[in-house]
């Protein structure tokens, strides 16, 4: 195949699969050649004959040779990814997009507001921020899941609690013995003391959660250029051609997926209506 062809993929072998929740699994894959990436960037995973979809690695960018992808079973392609076993092969291309503006978080309180399966890119960012802990005076993670069962990376929560301020909430505790907060993730923002002028908020999650979190942050006094969003859109090419991911004049795959809210605030159709 033409080496200049941007659609060339390389093979990656699944090393291990970690079941996170009934609908979410983490695939640990080893690409033939290491793929250096920035937290927040994404890659296209494909299965021949099935399809291709964008995923942001959830692993540390220090390990470009072993990548982790946390995948929720929501559609056709992801249902096949969920059937994969160790030693199966996937194809991969990337990385694409801009990644988080990490240097702009230095000497600020970083408030991560994460919903559901938005945790994967957030975890890659967390690894990076914890590595540069001296430059980040205060690191807060607010994470909301639908039910206690839907919380991802349960086995790492103790580690995160030790290293940062962690607030957890579930929308519906059901019949479980959940003792933590209940309610949507925006409710947590009322429970913590934040100083918007010296805080950078990073919001990652499903569109509806992001929409209301942004509204809440604005209400709390955050400036639009202090709110960082990792946006999700339909993507095919990943390289700024197919125009499926456009938000106004911006390509989410090329100019994003990480945006300051200031760039998007006056554009139509940013969130689902």
């Amino acid at each position: 195949m033409d080496p200049k062809n941007p659609f060339v993929t390389q093979e990656a072998i699944i090393q291990k699969i970690i079941p996170e929740t009934p609908k979410i699994k983490t695939l640990i894959v080893k690409p033939k050649r290491p793929i250096p990436f920035q937290p927040g960037q994404f890659m296209e995973l494909s299965l021949p004959g099935i399809g291709e979809a964008p995923f942001a690695p959830s692993s540390s960018s220090d390990h470009p040779d072993i990548l982790e992808f946390t995948v929720q079973n929501v559609g056709y392609m992801t249902s096949f990814l969920h059937q994969m076993k160790a030693r199966d092969k996937v194809r991969i291309r990337g990385p694409y997009g801009n990644g988080f503006p990490i240097s702009q978080l230095y000497n600020k309180t970083v408030l991560l507001v994460v919903g559901g399966v938005g945790f994967p890119p957030a975890r890659a960012l967390l690894y990076q921020l914890l590595k540069e802990k001296k430059k980040i005076p205060r690191l807060i993670l607010c994470y909301g899941a639908r039910t206690p069962e839907d919380i991802v990376y349960k086995y790492q929560l103790t580690y995160f609690k030790k290293n940062l301020v962690l607030y957890l909430t579930v929308d519906d505790p059901g019949k479980t013995a959940w003792k933590g907060h209940t309610g949507v993730v925006t409710c947590l923002l009322d429970k913590i003391e934040i100083f918007p002028e010296n805080t950078m908020a990073v919001v990652i999650g499903p569109p509806v959660m992001m929409k209301y979190t942004v509204l809440k942050l604005l209400e709390k006094g955050f400036r639009p250029d202090h709110i960082i969003l990792s946006m999700e859109r339909k993507m095919y090419c990943g390289i700024g051609q197919c125009r499926h991911c456009m938000i106004g004049p911006y390509f989410v795959c090329k100019d994003g997926p990480v945006f300051f809210y200031a760039a998007l605030q006056n554009l139509p159709d940013v969130w689902e209506a």
Partner: protein
């Protein structure tokens, strides 16, 4: 550089063309039930080619960015080169969008293979269709850029202008056919062009298409005219597929046994166009998709590539199932602006 034009007699041109069709695939507009469709030229239909007239039904992107294409392995078109005859200025202008979209860091090898392997022979537009409005969006009905060769029809032959080295090379074996044109011939072509411009201006006089359309539409993205304007849209996607600058595509894979990646035209008017994993979409309502298309043409593409996404070819108006008259709608948006807003826009 002053443009140099040559005269080629009609019989010489036909013998030149007969030579080209031996080794290459030559596409030219041929009238089928009064519609101009591109057909491969053969010795049988060589005399039925419509050189001037209006733009063809098929946009030029058809040849460079085919409706379905294999993205890996050998390029399906390798073999004979292609020549496209009678390309009009509106389609050439569209290349400025396509060249930028498929260029840059991740330049698309498929598009550029077709682009470099296709010789573009442009001609003047002499009888614009009622839906044509290139002059209202900064264009002209005659070719002035991006062609390899340009022809202007005059009695008994053509005036030929060379646009690129590729065009010059293609013509060099036929150097003996090129004659110095008479002054009258040159004057006649200029006169024809001025005439066509007059026709276009006259037929579009009733529309008030403002120069700063992108900002006009954007500043009013929240008005109800988007609902009213899209009321008759049946979401067939015709406007996307017929548009010479629309280039949204989907990628798909065919078999599990072998890795074959296909690319095909997509249309932003379709409801499923932007649906994400899990089924949500940022544009669930028709008026949102309709607005997105207009803003893409007049604002976003201009911001992305510095060129308007509309070349005034009128295909989207001509083929619309809902009889949506874009020029009328654009005028309505311009008229909706308050005097105050108009003054503010003049300053941009």
């Amino acid at each position: 550089m002053e443009k140099v034009r040559y005269f080629v007699s009609y019989s010489h041109w036909v013998s030149l063309l007969s030579d080209w069709i031996q080794n290459e695939i030559v596409w030219a507009p041929i009238s089928t039930s009064g519609m101009l469709h591109y057909k491969p030229v053969s010795p049988e239909n060589i005399s039925s080619i419509i050189y001037e007239g209006a733009r063809a039904i098929e946009p030029l992107k058809w040849f460079l960015f085919p409706p379905i294409e294999k993205m890996n392995g050998r390029n399906q078109r390798k073999g004979k080169s292609w020549i496209v005859l009678a390309v009009k200025a509106c389609d050439l202008q569209a290349l400025r969008v396509l060249d930028s979209a498929f260029g840059g860091v991740f330049a698309d090898p498929h598009y550029w293979f077709h682009r470099e392997d296709t010789l573009l022979v442009a001609t003047d537009c002499t009888s614009p269709l009622p839906t044509c409005f290139c002059t209202e969006v900064g264009g002209n009905p005659f070719p002035s850029q991006l062609f390899d060769l340009a022809l202007s029809e005059i009695p008994n032959g053509f005036l030929v202008e060379i646009g690129t080295e590729k065009g010059e090379k293609k013509l060099s074996p036929f150097r003996a056919f090129l004659e110095t044109p008479s002054r009258e011939a040159l004057q006649q072509v200029e006169g024809n062009r001025k005439n066509v411009m007059k026709i276009l201006r006259r037929q579009n006089r009733k529309f008030k298409i403002h120069e700063n359309l992108g900002e006009i539409l954007y500043s009013q993205w929240n008005v109800s005219l988007w609902h009213e304007g899209s009321l008759h849209c049946v979401e067939c996607g015709m406007c996307n597929h017929a548009c010479p600058t629309c280039h949204c595509y989907f990628l798909d894979e065919v078999t599990r046994e072998k890795y074959i990646k296909l690319r095909g035209w997509d249309a932003c008017m379709y409801q499923g166009y932007a649906v994400m994993a899990g089924g949500t979409t940022p544009r669930p309502y028709l008026h949102q998709r309709f607005r997105n298309r207009y803003l893409c043409k007049f604002k976003y593409l201009k911001e992305n590539y510095g060129v308007l996404g509309c070349t005034g070819c009128g295909r989207c108006i001509e083929g619309c199932q809902g009889k949506i008259e874009m020029r009328k709608l654009l005028s309505e948006f311009s008229e909706l602006l308050s005097v105050h807003q108009k003054v503010a826009l003049e300053k941009i």
